[in-house]
Symmetry: C2
């Protein structure tokens, strides 16, 4: 149960996250730490006030500390390494008007853990053993930079290294335990997520207009061409909150069902396809052009995919379609390579060649060139062949090459699930 350990009815605490590093502020790397930590904090019923990214400059970091001084919790990532650009501790000391001292205990631990056996320890690493009076070193199991925890009564400071693989275990262990120990955990927001396929934001907005609800609803268009819809509620009573979210979720699902709009819950579409096929004990194969192999590669992202996935043929030229996929030259001449007829032949042939229960054939035009008036960029024909039955689909997608490919994948998977439901349930 996710709501264990919650202290209900308490005022939620406020946190801010400071990401330190010139590489972030210059747009060299995207800061995924604050994103991840925010999600993590929401599990503890803690509100986030600011994310701040700042360069390695001491004055700027100190200023960032000053900006968030009224928060209950401050988490920094980055700037704990041994180089002269690593200034987080110094900046915090400056902001608090305290001195740093060389902590022999920390130094011993660094030596023990990372430099065992080595004769010469780089002098620069001594920087990582600096501490502030009252500061507690946080173990870093995956790197040389220990974290630092400091509590000045009003604010709990957690200084963590930048690499996610180093800081995440520190958050999951020391940080979480400190939150619990200091009773900083607030009401968890009850939340449900729906993943919606095949409609855009404005369509969804129109559909949901006038929906009566006590919940907060947000939806966000994801790069891979689907919409995430979040339903949340922050009642002081967890059960009441849950009930309200469920009510709203049911209302929304009813609307979506009525409009024949496809959605999943927490699960991604490829996982959904995988579990359907696995539960039905059915195998699949693809013959495709437009996605270049991406349909199969989406399935193999899931460990154990070999149980349901037999393989693909990517027939990127007409000759291959003819030699391989049993598509006759005449058929291509008559209907074009992007047509129902060719898609169907490819689907049937994939099923036979790979000996799978289901064969899917996909043809289409991803653009930017290759379109015509009759067959514009974004036109896709695909067929799902199950036993002796073929289901043909024609779609017209808009967007750039990448977006069109994502839409094709989503659309094939959605229709596939519908066909599986119809055929086997």
């Amino acid at each position: 149960m996710i709501h264990r350990g919650l202290i209900l009815g308490k005022k939620r605490k406020k946190a801010s996250i400071i990401s330190i590093g010139t590489e972030i502020i210059k747009g060299k790397i995207t800061d995924f730490n604050s994103f991840w930590i925010s999600k993590y904090l929401s599990k503890f019923g803690i509100d986030v006030k600011f994310h701040i990214s700042v360069s390695d400059n001491i004055q700027n970091i100190a200023e960032a500390f000053n900006t968030v001084k009224n928060c209950d919790i401050v988490i920094t990532t980055g700037g704990l390494g041994p180089t002269e650009d690593d200034n987080t501790k110094q900046a915090m000391a400056e902001f608090l008007n305290k001195n740093l001292f060389f902590d022999t205990n920390i130094w011993r631990n660094i030596n023990k853990r990372y430099f065992k056996g080595r004769k010469e320890i780089p002098e620069s690493n001594k920087k990582q053993a600096m501490n502030i009076k009252g500061g507690i070193s946080i173990k870093n199991e995956r790197g040389t930079a220990p974290g630092l925890y400091y509590n000045n009564k009003n604010t709990h400071y957690f200084l963590l290294p930048g690499p996610p693989r180093e800081n995440r275990p520190m958050i999951e262990n020391f940080f979480s335990e400190t939150l619990k120990k200091n009773e900083l955990i607030g009401n968890k927001e009850y939340e449900k997520k729906l993943r919606i396929y095949g409609v855009g934001e404005s369509t969804l907005a129109d559909i949901l207009e006038g929906l009566e609800t006590d919940c907060e609803i947000g939806y966000y268009f994801k790069e891979k061409a689907w919409l995430e819809l979040d339903i949340s509620n922050k009642e002081s009573d967890w059960e009441a909150s849950k009930k309200k979210v469920k009510e709203t979720e049911e209302k929304i699902m009813k609307i979506l069902n009525k409009k024949n709009i496809f959605y999943t819950g927490d699960v991604e579409l490829n996982e959904k396809v995988f579990s359907y096929l696995k539960n039905l004990n059915k195998s699949i194969s693809f013959a495709e052009t437009i996605c270049g192999g991406k349909l199969g590669s989406k399935l193999i992202e899931i460990p154990g995919a070999s149980k349901i996935f037999k393989g693909s043929v990517v027939a990127y030229s007409d000759r291959i379609k003819i030699d391989f996929m049993g598509v006759s030259e005449k058929l291509i001449k008559k209907h074009g390579a992007v047509s129902n007829e060719v898609a169907q032949k490819m689907a049937e042939q994939a099923r036979k060649l790979f000996g799978s229960n289901i064969g899917v054939g996909v043809t289409g035009i991803a653009g930017p060139s290759g379109g015509s008036k009759d067959k514009p960029v974004g036109l896709v024909h695909f067929t799902i062949s199950v036993d002796n039955k073929c289901y043909n689909f024609q779609k017209n997608f808009i967007g750039d090459r990448k977006r069109i490919v994502y839409k094709v994948i989503n659309s094939v998977f959605v229709e596939l699930i519908k066909v599986l439901k119809k055929t086997f349930y």
Copy 2:
């Protein structure tokens, strides 16, 4: 030439970026705006001080404005829509201690551009016509929310909508022009980028230790399993800066060449493969297991891929390898499905089946299960078949399933380029 229009020798201006939206602060969506805008600003020789992300709360937004009040340029994204959560203008007015007024000019434009022909305009959209005395509305060609520009002598404020497709044209047009008009452009930093494949961060650090340079060097591990190395220099004289960067770049390339480490410049590996094949007028096909089709799908990301890519077979079961790829049962029994022998047979067969100049066969174990003591997770055998010659490779990768697949793709493409060089140059 990128350095046109620079005012050399001037002090660089400082900018901060505020991303507004509860969805960011809660970790629902990643803020790519500040990342993109930072990169854009660096083209104009402008330093970024802070990225701040903040919720829709007016007080918090006003506080964010206060934090960055000493910057020359402040850019906000988000919070300009018609809903009650859209508070950016109100927060700025509060921070500046000014009033908002309903600007009939802006309203007329909104009507003209977006609601032409519609009888009923939602009352809520009137919010988007609010202005501050002295403020200038910024045209939004792709949405209903106009931006707002305000200059209070010390600071130039640019309030922009959140969606990248709306705000980017506004940055490229109005924002850029305003920077030029107000002489806010500083020394452009000269910069070169190397993309390095097949080594980790610590190896690169060891290799570059002791390198003498006047440049700043940064390197960042990218999700798709390569390292980005940036060389930059901020001299007041552009030509001097360029010279220094080139010198350092040459030194580094020399070291990398000596160590036989593969790198590209600004170009991604799949583009590099594409242009090699295109220039040589050679075609390629794949027979693969471990990537599930991703090798082909990386190539088809590039428009015009059909010129060089003939197709793939994803042989995800032994039966397919036997029926399709001419791999004998005996061969699999003797050497295992993941072996040099099977990879080679698949490569040769792919070349023949698809009638391509080059055939690549890839077998491997992506994990997490399926490994053994002899053949552990991460073991990959692949073959590049060109005419009558086969080049066999064995690699042992570490990482999770996803990371291993990325490493396989990079490795296949790197070795392919090497083979192409050796064979055709």
